[in-house]
C-alpha cells in the first residue's frame, strides 16, 4: 500500500505565525507511519495552483499584514477553491484563513476584507481579544487547542460549526460554537497547533482524502499515548 497523498500548504510564508506548520508535519508523519507517501506543495501569494489537484489543503493564521496580502490573493482563487470544496477536496483552515473562508472580515477600523464565502459566516473585529485554552466537543471526540483572536465570527443559521465549546470562547464570545464545516472543508480558531494533540481529527482528514482518491476505507491504528497525554494536560490547564 504505497498510495501517494498530496498536501498543499497555502501561504506558508505569509500565514506562518502560530506554529501552524506543525499541522502539515502531523499529516505527513501520520500518513508516512501508515506506509503512504505524502508530498507537500507550498503555494505562496501569486503562485499558480489548482486546488482540485491536491488531496488535502492546509492554510494557517498570520499577522494582520499577511492577512491583507492573502485576502487579495484568495479572491483570485475563490472560484477554484469553492469548486474544489464542492468536489470534496479535504481542507483545514485555521484562524486568519478561516476568517477569509467566510464572506467577509470587517476590521475594528471598519475596513472590509472580502472573503471567499465558502463558509456562511461573517467576522467582525472587536476590542476584546479571545485568548486561552479551548476544549470543544466534535464528531471526532473532544478537541483541544489555544485560541487567540480579536475577530468574532458568526455563523448563519444552517452553517454547521466544527464543534460545541466545552471551555473557552470559540467563534465569538457568546454563541458557544467553534469553527465551521462545509463538505470536507474544516475551519477553526484552534492553534496549538490543532492536529498533533487531536490525532482522531488528523486521521479523519487523512482517511477522508485517501478514501476519495484511492478508495482506502480504514487506517491502521497508531500508538497515540503521547498525543493523548499532551491533550489531557491542555484540558486540565488553566484557561
Amino acid at each position: 500500500m504505497t498510495s501517494s497523498l498530496t498536501i498543499a500548504h497555502l501561504y506558508p510564508v505569509e500565514m506562518n505565525i502560530y506554529g501552524d506548520r506543525g499541522n502539515v508535519l502531523t499529516l505527513v508523519r501520520r500518513a508516512e507511519w501508515r506506509g503512504f507517501m505524502p508530498t507537500v506543495v507550498e503555494v505562496g501569494v501569486g503562485e499558480r495552483f489548482d486546488p482540485a489537484d491536491v488531496d488535502i489543503l492546509f492554510a494557517g493564521g498570520g499577522q494582520d499584514r499577511g492577512q491583507v496580502a492573502v485576502g487579495l490573493d484568495l479572491q483570485s482563487r475563490a472560484d477554484a477553491l469553492n469548486d474544489a470544496a464542492e468536489a470534496g477536496v479535504v481542507m483545514l483552515v485555521v484562524c486568519g484563513t478561516y476568517q477569509l473562508f467566510g464572506r467577509r472580515f470587517e476590521t475594528l477600523e471598519g475596513h472590509e476584507i472580502p472573503g471567499i464565502g465558502l463558509f456562511k459566516a461573517d467576522t467582525i473585529g472587536s476590542t476584546e481579544r479571545l485568548i486561552g485554552n479551548v476544549t470543544i466537543d466534535s464528531p471526532w471526540g473532544p478537541l483541544v487547542g489555544f485560541e487567540n483572536h480579536s475577530g468574532q465570527t458568526t455563523l448563519d443559521p444552517g452553517q454547521f460549526p466544527l464543534g460545541t465549546v466545552v471551555r473557552g470562547s470559540g467563534n465569538n464570545a457568546t454563541d458557544k460554537v467553534e469553527g465551521a464545516i462545509h463538505h470536507n472543508v474544516h475551519g477553526t480558531y484552534l492553534h496549538g497547533p490543532v492536529l498533533p494533540r487531536n490525532p482522531a481529527f488528523a486521521d479523519h482528514l487523512i482517511l477522508t482524502a485517501l478514501a476519495r482518491r484511492h478508495g482506502v476505507d480504514k487506517l491502521e491504528p497508531l500508538d497515540d499515548t503521547l498525543e493523548r497525554a499532551a491533550a489531557k494536560v491542555v484540558m486540565d490547564a488553566a484557561r
Partner: protein
C-alpha cells in the same frame, strides 16, 4: 508628556519614595529579590517619582529593548560604563516592566529621594517602552531585534514594532537611537526618529550556516510593499543583508560591524569588530552568534556615548552570562549547562550554537506554561528540532513535557517524559555518569524551578545580584 519643572523632590515625592523603599525592604525580608511591588506602590502615591529620580542622573538614562538579548546587552553596557569609572544604576534581575524600572530607581535612592549614581542602564520590555520613555526621557535607546515572542501576551510583531515606534517618536531631539541594521523590522523604526540621531550596528560575516529548519523568519517582507525581501546573507531568523526587490528598503550600512566570528569553545568566542575602518578584537566569554550581536550592540551604545571602544572591548572580556542564559552547574561531579529558551529564534540559536554538531549529548528540556512563559506553546512547533544532531537521550520535564516530547516524536526522535521537575532532574542525574555533562534547556518558570531544586544540590549564586 509632562515636563518636570520642579526637579527638587516635593513632600509627596519624599513620601512616595519612603513608602516604596519600606515596601522594598519588606519584600526583601519576606521573599528575597526585588520586584515590581515597591515601584507600584510609590507610583500610586507620586506618578512622576520615576521621572524626578531619573532626571537627577547627570549621564542620563540608556534604555535597551528588543525581543532577545536585553538582559545580556544591559549587563555588557553596565560593565563598559563601570570600567570607564561611572557609577551605574540598573535593573539587574530582568524586572523590565515599568514598575521594575521604578523599583530599581527607588532601591538606589536615599530616603529623601537622592541618587548617588551618574547614569542608568535599563532593559525595558517592549510593551512598556512608551510609558518608560515618556517618564525617563532617555538619552540613548537601543533596539536589538524583534522576533515573535509570547503571542498570547504581546500580540503580533507588527503591533510591537508600532508600540516601540511610538516611544521613539516621543524622544527628545538630543537623544540617540541605536538600531540593528540586519533586522528589517527594527531598521524600519528609523522612520519614527525624525529628531533623534540614528546609529546602526550589524553583522557582516561569511560562513554562518543557517539551520535547515529555521522557520522563524518573522519579518522578511518589505514593510512598505509587502514583497519578499532579497537576501545576500542570512544569519538566523530574518537577520541578514536584505533589499526590497522594488527598491523600497535596503539594509543600512552600520558604523559598528561584526566582521568575523569564531567559536573558541562552548563557552567563549572571538570577535573582530570593524569601527571606522579599523578592527577591534574582542575576546567574549560568551558563546553563540546571538551574544556577538549583543556585544556589537553594546559597543554601538558605548560609541554613541563617546567612550573608548578599546576600553569597552576590554570590559567585555569580563562579562558573565545573566541568570539562566548560559550557566554551568556542577552537581555531584556532573556538569549541567543551563540554557534559557523563550521563543523560536532564541531556541534555534541554542541549537545552532550547542546542539547542531553530532555529539553524545544528554539533553533535558523543561517546559512549563505559566503566565511568564506564555500560556500558548504553539511556538515549539516552529523550533528547528529537526536540526538537533542525534545524541545520547532526550528527556522532557515540566508541565508541558508531553507537548515537548510530541514535537520530538514528529521530528523522528523518541523522548522520555517525566512531568515532575524534581523527578526529571533526578532521572537526568541518574543517567549522566559522574564526570560527564548534560544540556538543560528550560523556559522561564521552569528555569526558576530548576534553580530552586539545584540550589539544594550545588552552589549557585543568587540571581538577584
Amino acid at each position: 508628556m509632562p515636563n518636570h519643572p520642579d526637579r527638587s523632590p516635593g513632600a509627596r515625592a519624599v513620601v512616595a519614595n519612603g513608602v516604596g523603599k519600606a515596601v522594598l525592604g519588606l519584600r526583601r525580608m519576606t521573599r528575597g529579590g526585588g520586584s515590581a511591588l515597591p515601584g507600584l506602590v510609590a507610583e500610586r502615591i507620586d506618578p512622576h517619582m520615576v521621572g524626578r529620580l531619573a532626571a537627577q542622573l547627570p549621564g542620563g538614562v540608556i534604555v535597551i529593548t528588543g525581543t532577545n538579548g536585553k538582559t545580556t546587552t544591559t549587563k555588557m553596557l553596565v560593565a563598559i560604563l563601570e570600567a570607564n569609572g561611572s557609577r551605574v544604576l540598573t535593573n539587574r534581575s530582568g524586572s523590565n516592566l515599568s514598575r521594575g524600572v521604578a523599583s530599581a530607581l527607588l532601591e538606589r535612592s536615599a530616603w529623601r529621594g537622592r541618587l548617588a549614581e551618574d547614569i542608568a542602564v535599563f532593559e525595558v520590555d517592549e510593551a512598556s517602552m512608551p510609558a518608560v520613555c515618556a517618564e525617563l526621557r532617555p538619552s540613548t535607546v537601543m533596539v536589538l531585534n524583534l522576533f515573535r515572542d509570547q503571542l498570547d501576551r504581546y500580540g503580533e510583531l507588527d503591533s510591537t514594532a508600532n508600540v516601540i515606534g511610538r516611544a521613539l517618536a516621543g524622544l527628545d531631539g538630543s537623544a540617540t537611537v541605536c538600531l540593528n541594521a540586519d533586522d528589517p523590522l527594527v531598521a524600519s523604526l528609523a522612520r519614527y526618529c525624525e529628531r533623534p540621531e540614528v546609529r546602526w550596528f550589524g553583522v557582516d560575516v561569511d560562513g554562518i550556516a543557517k539551520l535547515d529548519h529555521d522557520a522563524a523568519s518573522d519579518s522578511d517582507h518589505c514593510p512598505q510593499c509587502g514583497h519578499a525581501l532579497d537576501y545576500d546573507k542570512s544569519f538566523y531568523s530574518h537577520l541578514g543583508h536584505y533589499r526590497c526587490p522594488e527598491g523600497h528598503v535596503e539594509r543600512p550600512i552600520p558604523e559598528v560591524t561584526l566582521r568575523s566570528f569564531e567559536a573558541v569553545d562552548d563557552e567563549a568566542s572571538h570577535l573582530l569588530v570593524e569601527v571606522d575602518g579599523s578592527a577591534l578584537s574582542v575576546q567574549l566569554p560568551l558563546p553563540g552568534l546571538y551574544n556577538a550581536y549583543n556585544a556589537v550592540a553594546a559597543l554601538c551604545g558605548a560609541r554613541s556615548r563617546g567612550l573608548s571602544l578599546t576600553d569597552a572591548a576590554e570590559a567585555l572580556t569580563h562579562v558573565t552570562a545573566p541568570f539562566g542564559r548560559v550557566e554551568r552547574v556542577d552537581v555531584n561531579g556532573r556538569r549541567l549547562q543551563l540554557l534559557l529558551v523563550k521563543n523560536p529564534t532564541g531556541f534555534n540559536q541554542i541549537i545552532q550554537t550547542f546542539l547542531a554538531e553530532p555529539n553524545d549529548t544528554r539533553l533535558m528540556l523543561a517546559i512549563n506554561d505559566g503566565f511568564a512563559d506564555g500560556r500558548d506553546l504553539s511556538w515549539l512547533w516552529d523550533v528547528a528540532i529537526e536540526d538537533i544532531a542525534p545524541g545520547a537521550f532526550v528527556l522532557c520535564t515540566g508541565v508541558r513535557a508531553a507537548d515537548m516530547a510530541l514535537r520530538f516524536k514528529y521530528a523522528g526522535v523518541e523522548a522520555d517524559v517525566v512531568p515532575d521537575v524534581d523527578e526529571g532532574l533526578a532521572e537526568l542525574l541518574r543517567r549522566t555518569p559522574p564526570g560527564e555533562s548534560a544540556e538543560v534547556l528550560a523556559n522561564y518558570t521552569a528555569t526558576l524551578e530548576l534553580r530552586e531544586k539545584l540550589n539544594g544540590q550545588a552552589a549557585i549564586k543568587r540571581f538577584w545580584q
